[in-house]
């Protein structure tokens, strides 16, 4: 057991899979010699050499296209897109190529690859380096979409993603890279499509993802301490596949559901989950389904503005309390 940062967990997860399988290769901008702009891939070049850990030009289409061609023909590539906002310049691969190749070819073409990316806000980078783009990916049939919130989940879900036979979008959160967590020694492999109940509770279910998970947990503690409201906090972890059973089971117990989403409001992942709850657990509910999201605006750069717009601990706690008391 050791305490590890989220960023070091990324390198450990990649190293675990590269050591296990010689077909796992890793490419991206500044990932090898520089160890990644977020320093999340330090040491991999030294451990696995330049044949398996490769720096690329600033060519996101080439990175994802090459990853796909390699995946189709027998490798298991991990590709890094430095900031998830850059998905917009290589979205053809994410939207048209990876996810449709198997279906269109009647199962002839496989695409087992992982795209890792730095997602999300909180770093004061402004509107084009801060977005939460999980909903861009979630809507596309054929993709899997994963977003871990802790070091141990980074390793376990990354291992599961590399071993998965489908294309997986692996969203690391930039504002979580510095957090620390206990991680056991030895191999760690988790399961895609499993949510985790991080805090059991009886009064309301709070669903959160990535950077919103620690905020939801803190809000739950505050609600318990200051208002006697006992919230169950679920880390959704995997948007596709989605663990609806854990979510519906929790709502059946608490009769209330809230989502905490960093993405701008329209078409966020919480909307999909809330519609499932409305369809399938309507008679379990004692009140409205409530989404706590970033509003429908681009993210500002200034710290005071960014802090005001992302769902905060106070905003989460206030909204839950007011909804339950209304």
């Amino acid at each position: 057991m050791a305490e590890l940062t989220y960023r070091d967990a990324v390198a450990r997860g990649i190293a675990q899979e590269m050591a296990r399988d010689p077909d796992v290769v890793f490419l991206g901008e500044d990932v090898a010699a520089a160890g990644g702009v977020f320093k999340s891939t330090v040491g991999l070049l030294e451990q696995f050499g330049p044949k398996r850990v490769r720096d690329t030009p600033i060519s996101e289409q080439a990175i994802l296209g090459a990853a796909m061609g390699a995946a189709m023909t027998g490798l298991k590539p991990i590709a890094e897109i430095m900031f998830s906002d850059f998905f917009a310049v290589c979205f053809d691969y994410i939207a048209n190529e990876f996810p449709k190749s198997r279906y269109m070819t009647n199962g002839q073409v496989k695409c087992p690859l992982v795209v890792r990316t730095g997602n999300g806000g909180g770093a004061r980078f402004g509107a084009q380096h801060s977005q939460s783009v999980e909903n861009w990916c979630m809507m596309i049939p054929g993709l899997k979409v994963v977003a871990p919130s802790s070091p141990i989940d980074v390793i376990g879900l990354l291992a599961a993603s590399v071993r998965d036979p489908d294309p997986v979008i692996f969203l690391e959160h930039k504002s979580l890279y510095a957090i620390k967590g206990e991680v056991p020694d030895g191999e760690i492999v988790d399961t895609l499509g499993t949510a985790k109940i991080l805090r059991p509770g009886k009064d309301a279910t709070i669903l959160a993802l990535a950077y919103m998970v620690p905020r939801a947990l803190e809000a739950a503690e505050k609600l318990a301490k200051e208002h006697g409201i006992d919230c169950e906090v679920i880390d959704v972890r995997s948007l596709v596949p989605l663990d609806t059973q854990t979510i519906l089971g929790s709502v059946a117990k608490t009769h209330r559901a809230f989502s905490v989403e960093e993405n701008p409001r329209l078409c966020g992942w919480g909307a999909e989950i809330m519609s499932i709850i409305a369809d399938e657990a309507f008679y379990d509910l004692d009140g409205p389904l409530v989404r706590i999201t970033t509003p429908h605006v681009p993210l500002p750069a200034a710290d005071v503005l960014e802090d005001a717009i992302l769902p905060s601990v106070d905003r989460i706690a206030d909204r839950v309390r007011k909804t339950l008391n209304s």
Binding site: P57, Q61, G65, A66, G69, T73, L75, T105, N106, V109
Partner: protein
């Protein structure tokens, strides 16, 4: 009467067997594409289709120079490249007619012909997308020490999209065993390529940007194409890295089935038809001592194959509903939740 020259007497580098193969491949493409057009007029080919009539020599020449195990990536104008690798006409026409006997059982359609067992790794309908993908396939060969070469076919219009330039640079710096083949048929969709391109030769004039040789080939002459392919494949297999080859050719039909190609100047089509790749190749075969009867025999055999395929496709059922949701994910289904 003077004796006709033979392949051996001319010290031919290609040889009679390969020449007959190149001819047959071109005729297969011509007949199948013409049939696709006829079936479209009968409303039996649905959706869109992009024909390679007039461009047969490019697909045939490169396919003839490939080895078994080499990989091809093509565009939505990919019927020719798919047929050239030996994919049965019936499966190609079946896919165009959206029948259950189609190459992908109707799930892909005309623009996405794929036959992994023949090395046809897909036909891509987003311009430029497959150039980086071809780089990845070549990277795998390099990484695993396998000696197959990847060929990526695309049109002149592709040279103006970003992915072309990303892929060329990427292939060059990683020295990948990939051959990029630009079929310059003079038009990007409905617009003359010269009207929208800063250089005269859209691919070849860009080669130096990536440290590559400037190669322009007569795309109406299957021998010239075959030789260019051989040279590029030898270079790639010996670790010499990528090549970019521009083949000058011409499409006889419009861009797609919706396009009557009225933008062409008068007489242009007729001028190119005088350099028809199949006419050129028939004369070539005769010059090498192959008789009219041998040529006519190939023509008749191919026509029979296409006729038989057409009848089988007409009789084939549409795809069954149970494949609607298969193969979205690797588990065979489309489940996204528990």
């Amino acid at each position: 009467m003077s004796k006709q020259p033979t392949a051996a007497s001319l010290n031919d580098d290609i040889g009679e067997a390969k020449r007959l193969e190149l001819y047959r491949t071109q005729v297969v493409i011509r007949e199948a594409e013409q049939r696709a057009y006829d079936l479209f007029l009968q409303n039996l080919v649905k959706g869109t289709s992009h024909l390679s009539l007039g461009q047969e020599a490019v697909a045939a020449g490169f396919a003839g120079a490939m080895k078994k195990g080499d990989l091809s990536f093509c565009t939505y104008r990919g019927h020719a490249h798919t047929l050239a690798r030996g994919v049965p006409v019936e499966q190609v026409l079946g896919e165009l007619m959206q029948r259950d006997n189609g190459l992908m059982r109707g799930k892909g359609g005309s623009m996405h012909l794929t036959s992994v067992e023949h090395g046809v790794m897909g036909s891509y309908a987003i311009i430029g997308a497959h150039l980086p993908i071809a780089c990845g396939a070549a990277w795998r060969a390099q990484y695993k020490g396998q000696d197959d070469v990847t060929t990526c076919f695309f049109g002149d219009g592709t040279t103006n999209i970003g992915a072309f330039h990303e892929a060329l640079n990427f292939a060059a710096i990683w020295k990948l065993p990939v051959v990029f083949v630009c079929e310059n048929n003079l038009y990007m969709e409905y617009t003359p390529i010269g009207d929208v391109t800063a250089v005269e030769h859209p691919a070849a004039d860009r080669a130096s940007s990536y440290g590559l040789e400037r190669v322009i080939v007569d795309g109406q002459d299957a021998d010239a194409v075959y030789r260019a392919g051989q040279k590029a494949y030898e270079k790639a297999r010996s670790g010499g890295g990528p090549s970019l080859i521009e083949c000058k050719t011409y499409r006889y039909s419009g861009h797609s089935r919706a396009d009557p190609a009225k933008y062409r100047p008068e007489g242009e089509l007729e001028k190119w038809k005088k350099r028809d790749p199949i006419l050129i190749y028939r004369e070539r075969l005769k010059a090498f001592g192959i008789g009219e009867d041998a040529i006519a025999k190939i023509d008749a055999e191919v026509k029979q194959v296409v006729d038989d395929a057409t009848e089988k496709c007409k009789a084939a059922p549409p795809p069954p509903m149970e494949i609607l949701t298969t193969d979205v994910y690797a588990d065979g289904g489309f489940a996204w939740r528990n």
